[in-house]
Symmetry: C2
Subunit: 252 residues, 2 copies
Amino acid sequence: MASVDRHRQIIDAVRQTGQRSVVELAELTSTSEMTIRRDLEILAEQGLLERYRGGARSLLLRGEEPPFALREHDGLQEKQRIATAVADMIADGEAVVIDSGTTCLGVARALTHRRLTVMPLSLHAANALVGAPRLRLLLPGGEPRPGELALTGPLTEASLAALRFDTAVIGCCGLNASNGLTAYDLADAAIKRAAMASAHRVIAVTEAAKLSRTALAFVAPASALHVVVTGDDAPDDEADALSAAGVVVRRV
Amino acid sequence: MASVDRHRQIIDAVRQTGQRSVVELAELTSTSEMTIRRDLEILAEQGLLERYRGGARSLLLRGEEPPFALREHDGLQEKQRIATAVADMIADGEAVVIDSGTTCLGVARALTHRRLTVMPLSLHAANALVGAPRLRLLLPGGEPRPGELALTGPLTEASLAALRFDTAVIGCCGLNASNGLTAYDLADAAIKRAAMASAHRVIAVTEAAKLSRTALAFVAPASALHVVVTGDDAPDDEADALSAAGVVVRRV
DNA sequence: CGTATCAAACAGGTTTCGTGTTTGAAATGT
DNA sequence: ACATTTCAAACACGAAACCTGTTTGATACG
């Protein structure tokens, strides 16, 4: 996993100053310039940065969501704990809709060997679940957003509107009692709302860090959630505020 | 690709006599019994055969469709030629629905770098198309059938019913003038019909071998097709019969 | 026109994967 | 109950794939 670390190093360096030269990056990572060029080519392909002659500039604007490929390796343990905790809350035979995002992908993986009906809202989760023998996999229609592979659009909303689930597992980009559940992407926000409307019980999952964050698109007030599963280092005041809004907060 | 060939050898041997012992297969492939056991484990996982102590028995019944993993490596060149021929028939800007199956997967791959709106009817094709920069990818809902990953069911039909395409690329398990277009799977047949109904032009793709075959589920008469693209070793009489039904036959 | 940057090709090193062997455990048959 | 067969796990070996650095000739920029 040496190359992955270097990629992250490059991304961070480029984001820090907006742009970096190939020579700088080669020095920083103590590799050859050729390796840096190959890395930049890969990262540019993923849309993480823009290549120009002699270097690269960042495409990650402040306040924007970092891309899936990066978030996937962040806080793995916390996500794992959250995922198993959520899996324990779901009973065999239930029909579950699982939102897009890395935390929800973890939940999907934790449900692989269960006997359930599952509708994932991203192709990442769908791919993780195909072939699961006891699982009934139901895919919504829609347009997969590049990278994230989250399904959005009228087809997705129509698919959700046609179904009723026992539980919705919703990810979020920001969540707190005052601003409610928020997302970076407007289309995503609409889908989250639709998924919540189609489910009897709503479980929100989020790393502790997101409790102090608020994203662009408002999805729903905290009171619309039944359970929030988050990390064990979630601040007490936020947890209390959510509890006061009638939400069951589970820190794992 | 040595192991792939051995797997095929094993499958063929097992299907030939219904079942084979581990010792027999080890001798036949001139490998160790341990390797055979590992192979059988893999193949059993794919649902290609059933393991029992000392050997394995075939699960491929006569007249049933061989699984995706096997067909994928069959007649690669013919499929490639068909795929490029179909791609040439499609103009930039069109909206295209692409059926499931290995031949259609080839067509999807051939369209990767085009400027089109594409709705694939299988997750295999969907995965091949995500990340294509100029492509607008539209996914139908539905339940992915294991292995094939073909999307079927009411959600799929609803997605298709809501849209109108310029071209439908349809695969088939059997096709000839007298029995029309046929498929192995009933649910698949319904989807093919829905896709054809939603498209202005219908292109059927099929290896030449399938022109002399007829599968269980009737989809549509040959006259419902506008173009058939097939291999260059397609028999003249079948091609003529299709032409007589008003279909343009393209042999590549 | 000179310099910097780049992409392709080659070579070395490392890692991963597949295979074979061994060993002890489990299952089957007598 | 015992002997035999079958199996799975562990280890070791070799081949293939991958990553990286260097070289070289081409291309872009000032």
